[in-house]
Symmetry: C2
Subunit: 475 residues, 2 copies
């Protein structure tokens, strides 16, 4: 079965697609650029949703749902926004058999429709802040698509908040970047860089875009989440005003922030290996699989023992037994490895006799026997250990592949030969940024928030710089 997957060394890009398809996370659909999320991929997304939703609610947000179809004229109300999104829209021109007076776009993002409602709901400072999140599908007409990483339709959440002051909106935008970073670290076992996007990479319509950036195993960067301070741009476009306590009318200050099913792609590329998926235990739909091993005459006894283990460990552990007939244990091992299940318990007649099970980790190492009586305490600890190991390995990769660089020549060869993040000085000029992108395909991933001030000279023009920024080739 492992042969269905190209090795990473041979072709990283094919390896990724093979893993997604063979592990049955997703499949191509007959609709150009759209994928089908299969049950394993969906269960993973649901686990991500559940964790994120809890974090959103803990920070005071509520869920709501806004229309999928948006009048085309709404997009035009914010100048930068329409420039960014109009070329990516799917447009509904006919409905119920007749041509529409005004075309409707399938939402590429929901700022416009949401802020048109906020204009109706927000009257007074007493109505603020409004802290709303939406779980939804969006469509962006992409030319080159890749499963999870860039698809025409994807699932995501989009938070949209309105505040009385600029400072509060700024604090919210930074807070949500922090929520994403915590989620990536604690659930995805994925260390991220935090920072601000350059003007060129900013969300269309935002004043400032905060982001988290992760490193994949091929040393390319992946933007994992963004959080935008929208200032009063949309408030002015949609007349979202409130009466202050002093009785004056003011525009509100907005933020928006989102992560998408792209995170599943990040998870695959951050932890997977040549055998397939490797899932962090906190998100794995199945954390433990029990594989009974027996001759036909021993079937009843061994299957019963496997069932007892499942019963003992549920629901604290997400566990299932693979009791399929007509499938050899070795085949089952490979299949569950490919699907990324963190732990496998093997039970055979001899194990039962000695009151134990044999434990194998997805991440390798010697198989070890564990007494049946201590499984309920040992397994959760092992799962936490694996979670930490994955984070540790990814952190090591991140720090080992983040390099300061001072000359443009060194930069060019490092981008080409090593990849990873390059910490370089930049003059904040759009021309230098564009030249680097043009010549090396590397972009500014983010300007670190907490980067210590350091005087230096721009990589390209030699102009003065006060801090280094992160460059990388990215997905």
């Amino acid at each position: 079965m492992a042969k269905l997957i190209t090795s990473r060394a041979e072709d990283y890009s094919r390896w990724y697609t093979d893993v997604v398809l063979q592990a049955q996370l997703a499949d191509y659909s007959p609709v150009r650029g759209c994928m089908v999320i299969r049950p394993l991929g969906m269960a993973l997304w649901e686990n991500m949703q559940k964790a994120l939703d809890g974090m959103f609610k803990a920070t005071g947000h509520q869920n709501a749902y806004f229309p999928l179809l948006i009048p085309e004229s709404f997009l035009h109300k914010e100048k930068q926004h329409v420039e960014g999104f109009a070329p990516q829209c799917a447009v509904v021109t006919h409905g119920g058999g007749v041509k529409l007076e005004e075309p409707l776009v399938v939402r590429p993002t929901s700022e416009t429709i949401i802020y048109s409602m906020y204009a109706k709901w927000i009257q007074s400072y007493r109505d603020l802040p409004v802290l709303i999140n939406q779980w939804a599908n969006v469509v962006r007409w992409e030319m080159r698509t890749r499963l999870f990483l860039r698809t025409m339709e994807f699932l995501w959440q989009e938070g949209h908040t309105a505040h009385a002051t600029e400072a509060e909106a700024e604090q919210e935008a930074i807070q949500m970047m922090g929520v994403y970073d915590t989620f990536a670290r604690d659930y995805m076992a994925l260390p991220c860089l935090k920072g601000i996007k350059s003007d060129a990479e900013r969300f269309a319509g935002a004043v400032r875009t905060y982001c988290i950036e992760a490193l994949m195993q091929d040393n390319k960067a992946l933007q994992a989440g963004t959080s935008h301070n929208l200032g009063q741009n949309f408030a002015k476009a949609f007349e979202v005003r409130y009466q202050t306590e002093a009785g004056e009318m003011e525009y509100v200050w907005n933020t928006s922030w989102g992560v998408s099913t792209r995170l599943i792609g990040a998870l695959v590329m951050a932890h997977g290996d040549d055998q397939g998926l490797v899932l962090p235990p906190r998100l794995a739909p199945t954390q433990v699989v029990v594989v009974p091993i027996f001759k036909e005459s021993e079937r009843e006894q061994v299957v019963a023992a496997a069932a007892r283990i499942v019963q003992d460990l549920s629901p604290a552990v997400r566990i299932q037994a693979d009791t399929r007939d007509g499938v050899r244990p070795g085949y089952k091992f490979n299949e569950w490895e490919m699907k990324g299940v963190p732990l496998r318990l093997e039970v055979g007649p001899r194990d039962i006799q000695s009151g134990q099970a044999t434990v194998a980790r997805r991440t390798g190492g010697a198989k070890t026997p564990v007494a049946l009586s201590s499984l309920a305490t040992a397994v959760p600890l092992m799962l936490e250990e694996i979670q930490k190991e994955l984070y540790g390995a990814a952190s090591k990769r991140l720090s080992g592949n983040t390099r300061p660089v001072d000359s443009y020549d060194d930069f060019k060869s490092l981008v080409e030969e090593k990849g990873g993040f390059l910490l370089a000085h930049w003059c904040l000029g759009a021309a230098c940024e564009a030249q680097v992108k043009e010549e090396t395909k590397a972009t500014i991933r983010c300007i670190p928030l907490d980067g210590a001030a350091e005087a230096g000279a721009c990589l390209v023009c030699g102009g003065s710089s006060t801090r280094r920024v992160y460059f990388a080739r990215a997905y």
Copy 2:
């Protein structure tokens, strides 16, 4: 605040809209026929989803996600299906700035795209059954829309299963009608009639449509969920075949089943009163609200007592304290009543002194004092009691408004004067069914599954009938 709501007696239809808007379940959007689901409506839907999703998983189903946009030609592959749905479609003709070679319809339902994938995934009897559910948004171009009950876009779930045998598919379709009925009864406190749709009311493309039908307070029926045995109609249209154990190629047997955000409308209309929403405790986002009552000097002490109650009862009970300043208790009482919160606990200084809180039920009756020390046991019991009372009242309404009738004249006057369900004989002829609909606006809601055989004469033509069927005017 209660004056914002028209009374049911004055205008039931306006009452419904007033409740939905004033309780902030939903709002009109600037997009024709599309609504915004506000946080209270969304929290209600999430509670419904959670309960249903658990029931689907307990019956072996998994979630997946299929594309929103479907090639127009797919709809045409099943003759009845396209006749039913093509006139209702929103059509995407342009994407990424160019005209598409083939238009894409925004899914009105997903049989076609899903069964095209099943054709790829299903090869052998070992791949069956496939038991998949999808939570999604769908769009149907409706001329007359009403909040929750009939909107152009709505949220729903759609189950799609494939089986090796006709009997298994039939069993699945009946099972899922049963799941819906159990959910309506146990969570929504809504008794339903179960049965089969007549040919005229059947889902476009189905062999048999099972349904649950509920009665609203204005004595109109509302279809609350449907479950379709699709036979091999879609399997043949999409070439979904499998190799049997004996090595022969056979078409699979499919079912599909769904419920939608329409259920929120049903909930409002089944239990609401002239003060607003009445929510069954098992689904209420907030089950208990604590309202502290104090003079300014007593503030600290009373608010602290309210906070202690919230802490003591969480998370077993979904409870919150309303500690807003500048809002009188009476105003708070009205607001939480309008929002349907099942129980209110009032705490003032005198309550604290006597170690109690005063409990008021949303459904009425005298306020009663309950010792603070016994709240944690008393409140969950009260909530269960209210849940039962709501079901009891709705059951009484259903049985009191279900009447056997034998002559068409009596039928006509009963439909006009009383409404409710009318149990009448019918010859199974489409002409008689159409005549009743034309002349009385009543339709056959369902043919009961377990209706005792009873010889009789068709209401309209006098032709022979073997059982009574349920007629009603419906939403």
